[in-house]
Symmetry: C2
Subunit: 409 residues, 2 copies
C-alpha cells in the first residue's frame, strides 16, 4: 500500500536511547566482571516470601487482585507507606504525619518521575538537577522539553548560591535531588547540607523533588532526615520497593502535597489506569509482621561487606591514592547504597579506557553521561553489589592493570 | 516554612478527572444493579492457572522474574504475541508476518496510548477519533495538547469523506479506532468499512492506531481482519491481556513499524523502565499449552449468554422499540465484547435520567462523555458482563420504570 507519513512529535527528536544502556552493550561479553550494573543483588530477593504471598493473595482475594482497581493504589499499601514514612521520621525526631490520601502508588519510582514531569514541566521551563544526577530522571524530564540545568553539588549537598542563581528569574519548577547514597556518586547529603538546602528552597519558594530509592540501605547509621519531612507542602517524595524487595514487580510510590496530588493522580490514570493490583498486594503481604525490619538489615550487611571488599581491593591496587592523587585512581567511601564514585588519573578519559578495561575482564560505567552539563570525563561509577567478593578483587586488579597500561603509553 | 510556589504545566489545566469515574460515584450505593461498569467478569479469571504459574516462575527463574529487565519486554512473551497475531491473520486469509522485534510489552494497553501520544502528538496537531470513542484514549492524548477531533462514524465504520476533510491540510497525526465491539458502542466495523478506511488512510498517508482489547470476545464469528494486518507499515496495533486473562496484572502490548518503534521504546524506558517481569512471565506461562484456545471460548459463551439475557429483557420491557422508536428506548445487538449501546426516547437526557434510575436500583453510563464533539445526550452504555442473568432482568425492568416515570412527567 502507499507510504504512510509518520510525523513524529518534536519532543521525540530529544528522546534518545540511554547512553549507558548503549555503553553497557560493550560490557555484556561472557566472563566480564561487571561493576557497571545498576541492579540490586538478586540474592536479596525474598523468593519464598513472594511465593507464600502469591498463594495467599490468590486464595483470599483473587477477584480483587486480578480486577481493575483504583488509580490511587491499594488502600492498605497506601496506609502502610504512610505509616512507614511517619515512623521513620519520628524515629529521627522529625514530625512528618503522612496522610495515606497523599500517597500515590506508581509502577516503579521511574513512573513517579514521568508523572511529575508531565504535571510540572512546560517546554522551556527549568528542571534543576544535581551535578552529576540520576540519568533516568533526565530521561523522564526530557520529553516535556524543559531546560535541564545542573546546580553545582558537592559532598555535603547543593551549592545554595548556585541554586539561587539558577532558580531565581528562570521559571525553575523544581530541584530534583537524590540525597541518600546517590546514583551515580554514592554520596549522601549531610545534615548541614540538608538544612541549608531546605531553607534556601523555602526562601526561593522552589519545590524539591526528593528521590529516595536507596535510603534504607545504610551501612552504619541512617542518613539524616528526609528533606520532604522538613517541609511536606514544599516537596514531592519518591519512594521505591525495588531495592528492599525486588525491582521486577515495578512498585514505587509518590507522596505529594494536596497542591499537586490531584493532577498527579489524573496523569497516573491517563498513563496506565492504575498499578497492578496483584503486585501491590504482594508487596503489602510480604511487608507484614515486621518482615522488612528483619529483611532489610540482611541487605545492608551484604552490601556493606561488598563495599568493604571493594574499598580494600582499591586500597591494595592503588597504594598511591593518598600521596599522588593526580597519578592514581581516587574514590569515595559511600555510607550506603550500591555505588562508589571514582576518578581516573589526570589526562585519562573513562570512555576511552572502557574497552581496554573490558579487554582485561572488567566493566564500569563512565561518569560523564550523568552530568547534565560540564561532564567530568575522568569520573567512573563502580557498583559493588552484584559481583562476589572474589570477583571484586579480581575486577579491581583488572581495572588497575588497564589503568597502568594506559598510563604507560 | 514559607510558601512554596507550585507552578503547574499548562497541560495540567487540560487534564481532568474522568467524567465517567465521577458519574460512577453516584452509582456505588449498595444494592444497585450496575450496567455502568467497564470491568470484565471476575468469574472468568483463571485463578488456579495463575497460582500454578506463580509457583513455576518463582521456582524456575526467580532472579529473572524479580530483577530489572529489558524495556522491550520478556522475549518469549514478545515471540508469543507475534506468533499469535500472525496465526490469527493467517486464519483469516491475511498475511501479517509480525516480527517479535516490533512488539513492545506495555503496562496495560492504556500505557500504549500514552506512549503513542508522547511520540506522535505535538501541541496543536490533530488526533482524529471515532464518534463516540474510548474516553481513556482521549485522556491519554490530552496531556500532549493536541486538538482531538471527531470523525463521523456509523455502524459500518468511518465516514471516509469526513475523514478526508478532517485529515487533509490539518496536521493530523493519526486516526484512533477501536474496530471490534467498540467501547462504548459495542459496534464492529464491517469488512467493507475496513476496506474503505484502509484504502483512504493509505491514500492520505494517515497512520491508523488500531486498539483491539475486545477482538477475541466474539460470540458467533470472528470480526473481519485487522486494519493493521492490511498495511503493517501504516499503523500501530494495541493489544491487551486484560479481557482474556485478567486486567489486574496490567499487561498489554504494542506492535509498531520500524519507523516509530525505537521512539516508542525510548518513551517506554523513560516512563517506567520496563513492564513487570514477573507479570510478563505469568501471562506467558498461563498462555502455554493452548490454554487461551480453551479458556477464551468460555468467556465468549458467558458474555454471549449475558448479552442474550439483556437483549431478551430489553425486548420484553420496551415492546414498542420497533414500531415507535422515538418514544421508546432503542438499542443495538453487539456481536461480541462487553457493551451494548442504547438511545433514550426523544427529549430525554441520559445525565438527567441517571439519578432517577439509581433510585429505582439500576445504573448505566451516559453516552455523552464519549463524544469528543457533538455529544448525543440520549445515548447510554450498558455493560452486560458483570451482573447475573437474574440481575440483568431486574435491572432492565428498573430502567424501564425510570424511563416511564420520566416520560409521564
Amino acid at each position: 500500500m502507499s507510504n504512510t507519513h509518520w510525523t513524529l512529535a518534536a519532543r521525540a527528536a530529544k528522546m534518545n536511547p540511554s547512553v549507558i544502556r548503549e555503553i553497557l552493550k560493550v560490557t555484556e561479553r561472557p566472563g566480564i566482571i561487571s561493576f557497571a550494573g545498576g541492579l540490586p543483588s538478586s540474592k536479596t530477593f525474598p523468593v519464598a516470601e513472594f511465593e507464600a504471598a502469591c498463594a495467599k493473595v490468590l486464595r483470599d482475594d483473587p477477584a480483587g487482585a486480578l480486577q481493575y482497581a483504583s488509580s490511587e493504589g491499594y488502600a492498605p499499601l497506601r496506609e502502610q507507606v504512610a505509616a512507614m514514612l511517619s515512623e521513620q521520621a519520628a524515629a529521627q525526631g522529625q514530625h512528618w504525619d503522612v496522610n495515606p490520601g497523599n500517597v500515590l502508588i506508581t509502577t516503579g519510582s521511574q513512573q513517579g518521575l514521568d508523572l511529575v514531569a508531565k504535571v510540572l514541566l512546560d517546554k522551556g521551563s527549568r528542571a534543576l538537577v544535581e551535578s552529576p544526577t540520576y540519568l533516568g530522571a533526565v530521561m523522564a524530564f526530557v520529553p516535556m522539553e524543559p531546560d535541564v540545568v545542573s546546580v553545582a553539588s558537592h559532598d555535603e549537598g547543593i551549592d545554595v548560591d548556585d541554586l539561587r542563581a539558577k532558580a531565581q528569574g528562570h521559571d525553575a519548577r523544581f530541584l530534583y535531588v537524590l540525597p541518600n547514597f546517590q546514583n551515580p556518586t554514592g554520596r549522601t547529603m549531610s545534615e548541614a547540607g540538608r538544612a541549608a538546602l531546605s531553607a534556601t528552597a523555602a526562601d526561593l519558594g522552589l519545590p524539591l523533588m526528593e528521590d529516595n530509592p536507596y535510603g534504607d540501605l545504610w551501612f552504619d547509621t541512617p542518613p539524616p532526615p528526609s528533606l520532604t519531612a522538613r517541609n511536606p507542602d514544599g516537596g514531592i517524595y519518591l519512594g521505591s520497593f525495588s531495592k528492599v524487595l525486588a525491582p521486577g514487580l515495578r512498585m514505587g510510590f509518590i507522596v505529594a502535597p494536596s497542591a499537586v496530588y490531584p493532577k498527579l493522580l489524573q496523569a497516573k490514570q491517563a498513563a496506565d489506569l492504575h498499578s497492578p493490583g496483584f503486585n501491590q498486594r504482594l508487596i503489602y503481604e510480604v511487608s507484614q509482621d515486621g518482615f522488612l525490619a528483619r529483611h532489610v538489615p540482611t541487605i545492608r550487611a551484604l552490601y556493606k561487606s561488598q563495599r568493604d571488599a571493594m574499598l580494600h581491593a582499591l586500597a591494595q591496587h592503588f597504594p598511591d591514592a593518598a600521596t599522588q592523587p593526580e597519578q592514581s585512581l581516587t574514590w569515595n567511601s559511600p555510607a550506603g547504597g550500591m555505588f562508589l564514585w571514582a576518578r581516573l588519573p589526570v589526562g585519562m578519559n573513562a570512555v576511552d579506557l572502557l574497552p581496554h578495561a573490558v579487554d582485561k575482564g572488567v566493566a564500569f560505567v563512565p561518569g560523564a553521561p550523568f552530568y547534565a552539563s560540564e561532564p567530568d570525563a575522568r569520573s567512573i561509577r563502580l557498583s559493588f553489589v552484584t559481583p562476589s567478593v572474589e570477583e571484586i578483587h579480581r575486577g579491581v586488579a583488572a581495572l588497575a592493570a588497564a589503568i597502568k597500561e594506559q598510563q604507560g603509553r
